[in-house]
Amino acid sequence: MTLDILRPGSQCRVLGLTTAGNLGQRLMDLGFHPGVELRVIRNAPLLDPLEVEMLGYCISLRHNEASFVEVEHL
């Protein structure tokens, strides 16, 4: 399952990333590592991007970027 398909309010745990390069690096910089738990807070008014909360802070990312984050539902 990937992060982009989760609805606001759902909780999940990161399993891994399926992209390297620029986006992969930035995801890791911001804390998308295996085992990290996160919660989808909301979608933007036009449905994209989405906002997630993890490790005590909030991150916004586009759905196509979130589709490279493998997660499991909690």
Binding site: N22, L23, Q25, P45, P49, Y57, I59, L61
Partner: protein, 820 residues
């Protein structure tokens, strides 16, 4: 240790780094660019004891890879300039994530000081940080601060100037360590690499596959083949054994180390309650209320900066005028026939500068409000809400701020707009934004629109202004998309992913510093350029000038006018005091002065009486000629004044006609006639390159808007001389052209500064020219062929533009991201 000390300030975005920078350096700071790139370099100074500290503010980055320009710049600075200390500013309430950058700085062996900033926020979130334990684990000094309230300056300054202790923590990369050691040993055997960077850092970077580090090693290693062979082997075998590439393992180990330190030093005293940011965002990012509030914010910006600021500008305008008149008083006085060149040049120069000074209140308000929005943390929310639309057109959520500054609705300036494009992390979107911001509605163009709208669409004022205000955005968006699909294809893009920081109360000091900084940049950049270009334009409008035989004819006419006047006043007491042309000229000048003084006293009966009293004491006969409508002298003088004004206007028109710019205006007619522009319009457009407001002035001069009280619309509607009459259709084409017309010179130069390339500057000038002319031709020639009037053509074009924007927006995007 004494003398100069170089210190760098590093930190992640939203760590409050700029607050700390301001706290340490106060007003002693300078902004420049890092050589060769578009990243801003801020340098400040402060003294402590006998140390003079030069503090360099590195760009805020989450990491120190080579993926973005900002990260490369920070890294190169730390490696290349070898600062004697690096202060790592850290948001204390986000300590864990922030340590990720700290570890990378430590790896570069720089003398580090960890600055736990926003310690108050951490406390209010129920976090207590064990400073001693943190210091012990990191092996570097830790200093707390609360930059917003100005706390921690002393401690920080003290730590900066104190010699740093031993090296800090070294991350243990576990199973990667043997490979690291082997690689490091081989690197140490390359003598040419010595002193360029720490070997362990280079080994880590090489295993990560960092392109810049690879380039450095390839270029610097004595035996690169051997290094490369070992590197490939180590990466290969590690990936196979541990089922993940080294770069992922490295990042994960840093994350784990940060977690471990976080757990050891952070004590949660009370469970974090739903904090203010969370509750505010429920409203501010809500599907319905979010966009509504954002529109409200836009409206407020517009109302306060443009409307209220405009009122403030109207208050200072008379003083600026007075100052100009005062200064003009020192210049050689005008003769009856024409004014001396020096006076003409100086007046033109001062008028051009004044036209800009008038905008300072509006821009100061705008810049302050934007600084408040930035401080509060609302900007990322705007980016969050608008990204979807902007992205459709090849732009970025962060394009919002440049567009607002450029004048997304009415009234902005492309100069700060282009300057603020730095905040866009994606190079392609940044260039697309830089190139389209000048299409936004510049405040200086507004006067020109209002002039035309008043003249040609008096019944539909609001509609016409709405057209002008929105057509620019409707054009800019599809253009941006087309640019990214063509000339900008293949440029570096960056992920959108960003932090949504907590809301903070803005600090008045920080807001003020930022607003002043921006306004001084605006003044420095715009003023100097406008001033120099104004002189060039004046020359182009002045020379070669009116031919000598024609000038003699004018002189003869002037002589006749004066003789007739002297004959008319014959027998009055005035005749005894005014006998020749010089005295007549002086009388006319005094009359103007009297009029100006009376206007200055407008509305105040007492002051007005005082003015009369003063002139009466000087000479009652003069006053009668200025004021007493029944007097013979009054009528004669008034007639002479009008005749002289007509003569001046004719000479001026002739001079422009005969000038270089006039010649250019004529030469452009074969192209511009499709848009319905005659040579006079061409000249007005050309003359507005220094500052857009010149267009209004040149227009008035060329269409003979004089003291006759004739309205602009009326005089433009009349066909006179070799120019054609202007219709409403002309006016629509003209407004559209003005809206899309190439940016003024100041903006073009900012494009050069922001992109670092001359070709983009030329491009930013060329494509709007073609675009503006094309759109105006479409309206004038196309609309004319269909028999549309100006109002109909306006909306026909609007529908076309909207349809085009929609069409372009629907072109599917190609994702640039690749799977591994």
């Amino acid at each position: 240790m004494s003398g100069g000390v170089l210190v760098a300030l590093a930190g992640q975005p939203n760590s409050g780094k700029s607050t700390i920078f301001n706290l340490l350096t106060g007003a002693r700071q300078f902004v420049a660019n890092y050589p060769g790139v578009t990243v801003e370099k801020k340098v400040g100074y402060f003294s402590r004891g006998e140390n003079r500290v030069e503090l360099v503010d590195l760009p805020g980055t989450y990491s120190l890879t080579s993926y973005s320009m900002e990260e490369r710049v920070s890294r190169d600075f730390v490696l290349g300039s070898q600062p004697s200390a690096v202060v790592n500013v850290v948001d204390a309430s986000n300590l864990r994530r922030s340590l990720y950058l700290t570890f990378q700085l430590l790896e570069m062996d720089c003398p580090l000081i960890l600055n736990l900033n926003m310690i108050d926020v951490a406390k209010s979130k129920g976090m207590e940080i064990d400073l001693e334990e943190l210091e012990r684990r990191l092996g570097v000094p830790v200093v707390t601060s609360d930059g917003k309230r100005g706390k921690g300056r002393e401690e920080l300054a003290e730590a900066i100037t104190r010699p740093s202790p031993a090296r800090g923590l070294r991350i243990d990369y576990g199973p990667l360590e043997p490979a690291l050691r082997r690689l490091q040993k081989l690197l140490e055997a390359q003598p040419r690499l010595v002193g360029r960077c720490p070997f362990r850092w280079l080994a880590v970077k090489l295993l990560e596959g960092d392109p810049e580090a690879l380039a450095m090693a390839r270029e610097g290693a004595d035996d690169w083949r051997e290094v490369e062979a070992l590197l490939d082997k180590e990466r290969e075998s590690f990936s196979q054994e541990f089922v993940q590439p080294p770069f992922r393992h490295i990042a994960f180990r840093r994350h784990q180390a940060a977690e471990a330190i976080g757990q050891a030093v952070i004590k949660t005293t009370h469970a974090a309650r739903k904090d203010f940011t969370d509750r505010a965002d429920r409203l501010l990012c809500h599907r319905l209320t979010g966009p509504l509030i954002m529109c409200g914010v836009f409206y407020l910006l517009f109302e306060l900066a443009v409307n209220q600021g405009g009122r403030l500008a109207a208050l200072i305008t008379p003083y600026l005028g007075q100052m100009q008149r005062f200064l003009e008083g020192f210049l050689p006085a005008a003769g009856y026939l024409e004014e001396p060149l020096l006076t003409s040049l100086a007046s033109w120069f001062m008028t051009s500068i004044n036209a800009l000074l008038v905008y300072i209140p509006q821009f100061f308000i705008l810049f302050s409000l934007i600084a408040i929005l930035e401080d509060v943390g609302y900007m990322p929310r705007m980016a969050f809400m608008l990204d979807r639309i902007f992205r459709r057109f090849g732009l970025h959520g962060n394009s919002t701020l440049p567009y607002i500054l450029g004048g997304i609705y009415v009234g902005g300036c492309a100069v700060p707009g282009v300057m603020s494009c730095r905040a866009i992390p994606d190079e392609r979107a940044r260039l697309a934004t830089i190139l389209t911001v000048p299409l936004m509605n510049c405040l200086a163009k507004t006067a020109f629109y209002i002039m035309l709208v008043d003249a040609f669409f008096p019944q539909q004022k609001a509609g016409a202004m709405f057209f002008i205000s929105t057509i620019t955005l409707l054009t800019a968006l599809p253009i941006a998309r087309l640019l990214t699909m063509t000339v900008l294809r293949g440029r570096e893009t960056a992920p959108f992913i960003m932090e949504m920081p907590s809301y903070h109360l803005p600090s008045p000091r920080g807001v003020l510093i930022r607003a002043v900084e921006r306004i001084t940049t605006y003044i420095r950049k715009v003023m100097t350029i406008v001033a120099s270009v104004a002189v060039v334009i004046w020359v182009l409008l002045q020379f070669p000038g009116v031919s000598a035989p024609r000038m003699e004819e004018h002189a003869a006419r002037a002589q006749t006018q004066v003789s007739q006047f002297l004959a008319a006043i014959d027998g009055t007491p005035l005749a005894a005091k005014v006998k020749d042309m010089d005295q007549v000229t002086a009388l006319l000048t005094l009359r103007e002065q009297y009029r100006a003084d009376k206007a200055g006293a407008a509305g105040d009966a007492e002051a007005s009486r005082m003015v009369d009293q003063r002139y009466r004491e000087q000479d009652p006969d003069f006053l009668a000629a200025f004021q007493d409508r029944r007097a013979k002298t009054y009528r004669a003088l008034d007639k002479l004044r009008k005749e002289r004004a007509d003569l001046w206007r004719e000479i001026k028109q002739e001079r422009i006609d005969n000038s270089i710019l006039g010649w250019l205006g004529h030469a452009l007619v074969p192209i511009s006639r499709w848009a319905g522009f005659d040579w006079r319009i061409n000249v007005a457009m050309l003359s507005s390159f220094a500052a857009r407001e010149s267009a209004t002035a040149t227009f008035s001069a060329l269409y003979g808007i004089g003291g006759g009280g004739q309205s602009l619309g009326a005089s433009m509607g009349e066909s006179s001389g070799d120019g054609q009459a202007i219709t409403a259709l002309n006016a629509t084409a003209l407004m559209l052209f003005m809206a899309l017309f190439p940016p003024c010179l100041a903006t073009t130069i900012m494009v050069r500064v922001a992109t670092g390339r001359l070709k983009w500057m030329l491009f930013s000038f060329a494509y709007p020219s073609a675009l503006g002319l094309g759109a105006a031709s479409l309206v004038f020639t196309g609309g004319g062929a269909l028999g549309l009037d100006g109002w109909q053509a306006m909306w026909a074009y609007y529908a076309l533009a909207a349809g085009f924007a929609l069409l372009v927006g629907l072109i599917p995007e190609r994702s640039a991201i690749t799977n591994t």
